[in-house]
Symmetry: C2
Subunit: 343 residues, 2 copies
DNA sequence: GTTATTAATGCAAACGTTTGTGCAATTTTA
DNA sequence: TAAAATTGCACAAACGTTTGCATTAATAAC
């Protein structure tokens, strides 16, 4: 089965390539193609199951209807979650997305961007991994519009949509305080990343306001399970053991739980935990984990929307967006007077 | 910044487009381009940060170095796991993958295939969702090679790589039996899908051999959390309550756990559970869940390998592959004489 | 001092589209 | 009935590559 093309249809119907093209693109009226011709060509196209070559189309029009999506790590449910939304939203608007991950290193990020650009993606939605926005800014200026999600830069005008992580940090800390905790430790992720910085800032702020400045304790190096595990190990073995731990991601939480289990402690009874990120399985853990959920649906949807607006040349939209997080109350924090450790 | 092309480099260096092309494709020697020229052109290409247009390249060579990957649902960790492997393996060999999901319905599957083909993917790796292989067979024959993963067809020659689900079903059931269980129920997923069918077949086989034919109980309609929840509800409220439940996927498991929790029962003590699929978080559930793990790494890697072989015209590889599953023993099955219900 | 070799490069077609412009035939206008 | 307007379509260039073949200049062979 030879692949069908405008040429092959042209030969079979006797009409010129341009006429076929215009009919199949709904430009028939504009070019006054007769009704009879339109029907004839449409019928033939359907009969032979014609599919336009998006390569040729893209080459000619400089538009591929393709978006690049760069995340840190496909395996992380938070990102696969967002990817899912972005892919479907894009599809909804006629776009296909190419998904790639940077493995959270700048070298791969650059390589991936180049690869996407050589495929002429119309735009790039990315969770950036470095501390320096200039590379992506240049891409945004010269090659293809860039929209950031999750992570973003303060000193850059790149559009982004993320969670109000500061608020999230405050919510978690306040919740601990309301339940009588004072010794609250925070295990953070990649320290220079905006989400980590902002969550920590919220935590510090609330601690300070409560007069617990001396109890502030932040550690951690990245958003890995291992990091959560190691830091928790250290915390549990320190002289000044906390009664509550604020883990800044679902991955850190898993590591923390492992360390806690190994110590024979029970979450809630012996030590309280709040995590960031909302995942279905968190409700099935023992106990179900109280957490600060991010509005991933809205983040993905808005990112695509901003991208599309940008592609259509509209620039009147607010393009630096922080969405409110949500406290999802479960059972991993002891109630006042209930816990054993912190009274 | 005007996009660089062979033409722009040609103009600047004075060499013809073909010479540039050959140099940049490493064909210099073959065409006896002088060393000086090669260096000059290479330097200029690097200087201006030239990236070839893969659209033009693909159009001309009919090769895009792109693979399509179709899965049922991006959000399911089992699939995002496999996707991760496939994407990285493909990248390893110079291929980019376009990820799409069929939402487990044939209409979307067809649409997605068409979309991929119009992008001229070199091949398609897919978890098929229907019962009829003919559509994908036709694609495989006429348009692009197809390799199936996870699900496959008995009456088709399409290459596939999957888990030996039959063996997995037997392993789980035998494990239950060895621990003294007799009333073992099985909650299956999409009943006509090969994984579900084979796992159930293994379950039935072992039950029969143990003389427990009368205790065989299989229900379930799909691989959703809801299905797991509802079926477990029914099981727990039936007159002939099972002492053990074999859930055929991680999603079904989550649903089942919810139902079990709601009944106030405890896994292991009151009811035993084995699930299919291996996920990190299963170790953090209460209790950690004993499960039949699939070799997702190998599945993804082999699928890509088979695809590449097929693209290179080699056909001498075994292309219908079942890999052995692995029993991952945790703590969700009561030990003989320990459980309360089944003695 | 011709002629055959070889080295180094250029020409032009083709891949499958889109789109500005051109042009013949038909119809309308005056 | 001639000019003008409209209808219905075709031509051809362009997008950025790859690649078979042609071409030129230099060197070697005789």
């Amino acid at each position: 089965m030879k692949k069908e093309s405008l040429v092959s249809i042209s030969k079979r119907t006797g009409y010129s390539i341009s006429t076929i093209s215009r009919v199949l693109n709904g430009q028939a009226e504009k070019y006054r193609i007769s009704k009879k011709t339109v029907e004839l060509i449409s019928a033939e196209a359907k009969r032979c199951n014609y599919t336009p070559s998006l390569l040729a189309k893209g080459l000619r029009t400089r538009k591929t209807n393709t978006l690049g999506l760069i995340i840190l790590n496909i395996d992380n449910p938070y990102f696969s979650n967002i990817s899912n939304i972005v892919i479907h939203q894009a599809k909804e608007h006629g776009y296909t997305v190419i998904l790639a991950d940077s493995l959270e290193n700048e070298h791969d990020e650059r390589e991936v961007v180049r690869s996407l650009l050589s495929r002429q993606v119309d735009g790039i939605i990315a969770v950036p991994c470095g501390q320096d926005p200039s590379f992506l800014e240049e891409i945004n200026k010269n090659s293809a519009p860039v929209v950031l999600i999750d992570r973003y830069y303060q000193n850059s005008l790149l559009p982004y949509v993320s969670t109000n992580n500061y608020q999230g940090g405050k919510m978690a800390t306040a919740y601990f305080l309301a339940r009588g905790h004072k010794k609250i430790a925070c295990i953070c992720g990649t320290p220079y990343s905006m989400p980590s910085k902002e969550r920590v800032r919220g935590y510090r702020e609330v601690m300070k306001q409560a007069g617990l400045e001396s109890e502030i304790f932040v550690s951690g190096e990245d958003f890995s399970i291992m990091n959560g595990y190691l830091e928790t190990k250290l915390l549990l073995n320190s002289k000044n053991k906390p009664t509550a731990i604020f883990t800044l991601s679902n991955t850190i939480l898993l590591g923390a739980m492992k360390a806690i289990n190994e110590s024979g402690l029970k979450i809630n009874d012996d030590i309280s935990v709040i995590s960031f990120d909302n995942n279905t399985y968190l409700d099935y853990l023992n106990p179900p984990i109280t957490r600060i959920g991010q509005p991933t649906d809205e983040i993905g949807t808005l990112a695509v929307k901003i991208m599309l607006q940008s592609l259509e040349g509209k620039r009147d939209m607010e393009t630096r967006i922080l969405l409110p997080p949500e406290l999802i109350e479960r059972d991993s924090v002891s109630k006042p007077g209930t816990g054993t450790t912190h009274i």
